[in-house]
Amino acid sequence: MAAIYSLFIVNKSGGLIFYKDYGSAGRMETNDSLRLASLWHSMHAISQQLSPTVGCNGIDLLQADTFDLHCFQSLTGTKFFVVCEPGAQHMEGLLKVIYELYTDYVLKNPFYEMEMPIRCELFDLNLSQAIQKDRVSLFGR
């Protein structure tokens, strides 16, 4: 019973660099996930133009019947978004934690090329620990 269904990381040009799914709902093939990532990237950009409020930074939250989508965009344009069950709490905090893990274990890794798919063992390890901790605290509430 996971609160999170999947996690996407999209680079500044809209390409998918990381995709992880947790739980059977919404499991996707590689091509589908790539398509979804670039779709979201475009929507995010368009929403900035369309928004009636001044200084809009794009879509933060998308709510649907069966899922919620929380998005966090860093200052550099890298987007972290997570698809979770409706009404899941504290996703913003989780996204910030994941961003921190990204800066630590991906950006400080000399073997990682910018904008390329993430293949860092330490990132995967710490990410699953963070998700696990989040799940545990979810049940605790």
Binding site: D104, K108, F111, C120, E121, L122
Partner: protein
């Protein structure tokens, strides 16, 4: 005091810079070791003056514990996790660390095999081992290097620098898998040259 992040980025750049200039992994390790060597030479001048009042280490265990405690403390803020004597060979000693500071954020890609960025630290340790003669050589070399830059490189990097008054050794960094832990432990393996052991035996 420098922030860990700043150092991590700088070290990452150092590795990337060298990666573009080498053809294979062994050379990359060598380059990292040499970079560490340069750091070691400077740090240890400072340390010997500060900590030990210009006293010179002549015994094997003395120098090993110096590296294990004092040098590690200054560089990484803590003493190394353990210092062990090798069981297979007389001339091998190991300094182990659960996670080397330089490796903390680095994930080695699978296709690089057993490469370890700890080679940088191995270079630092290597300098300590060959300290005394290295000092004289270093001073000698830097004084003539302006005239003969090629000669400088040769003298500085060749093993010959470490022979003699110091404790010449081959120093390498290895990953040692540990059960119950995801990440392998890092071990700096120090293999002393024959003459060091002979001298130890002579000194009793």
């Amino acid at each position: 005091m420098v922030s860990l992040s700043a150092f991590a980025f700088l070290f990452s750049e150092l590795v990337q810079y060298n990666q573009t200039r080498v053809d294979n992994i062994a050379e990359l390790e060598r380059r990292l070791e040499d970079a560490g060597y340069a750091v070691g030479a400077r740090v240890l001048e400072l340390l010997c003056h500060r900590e030990k009042g210009n006293r010179r280490e002549t015994r094997l265990l003395g120098i090993l514990s110096f590296v294990h405690s004092t040098v590690w403390k200054v560089l990484f803020g803590k003493v190394a996790d353990s210092l062990e004597k090798g069981t297979e060979h007389e001339d091998e000693y190991m300094i182990s660390e659960k996670e080397l500071l330089v490796n903390r954020f680095i994930s080695i890609p699978k296709d690089m095999g057993t490469f370890n960025c700890g080679a940088f630290v191995a270079g630092i340790v290597k300098v300590r081992m060959g300290y005394d003669l290295a000092v004289f050589h270093w001073l000698f070399v830097t004084s003539i290097s302006s005239n003969w830059p090629k000669l400088n490189k040769l003298l500085f990097l060749e093993k010959g620098v470490l022979d003699g008054a110091g404790f010449p050794a081959v120093v390498t960094a290895h990953f040692v898998p540990v059960e119950g832990q995801h990440r392998p432990r890092t071990t700096i393996l120090i293999k002393f040259a024959e003459e060091v052991l002979q001298r130890e035996a002579r000194l009793g």
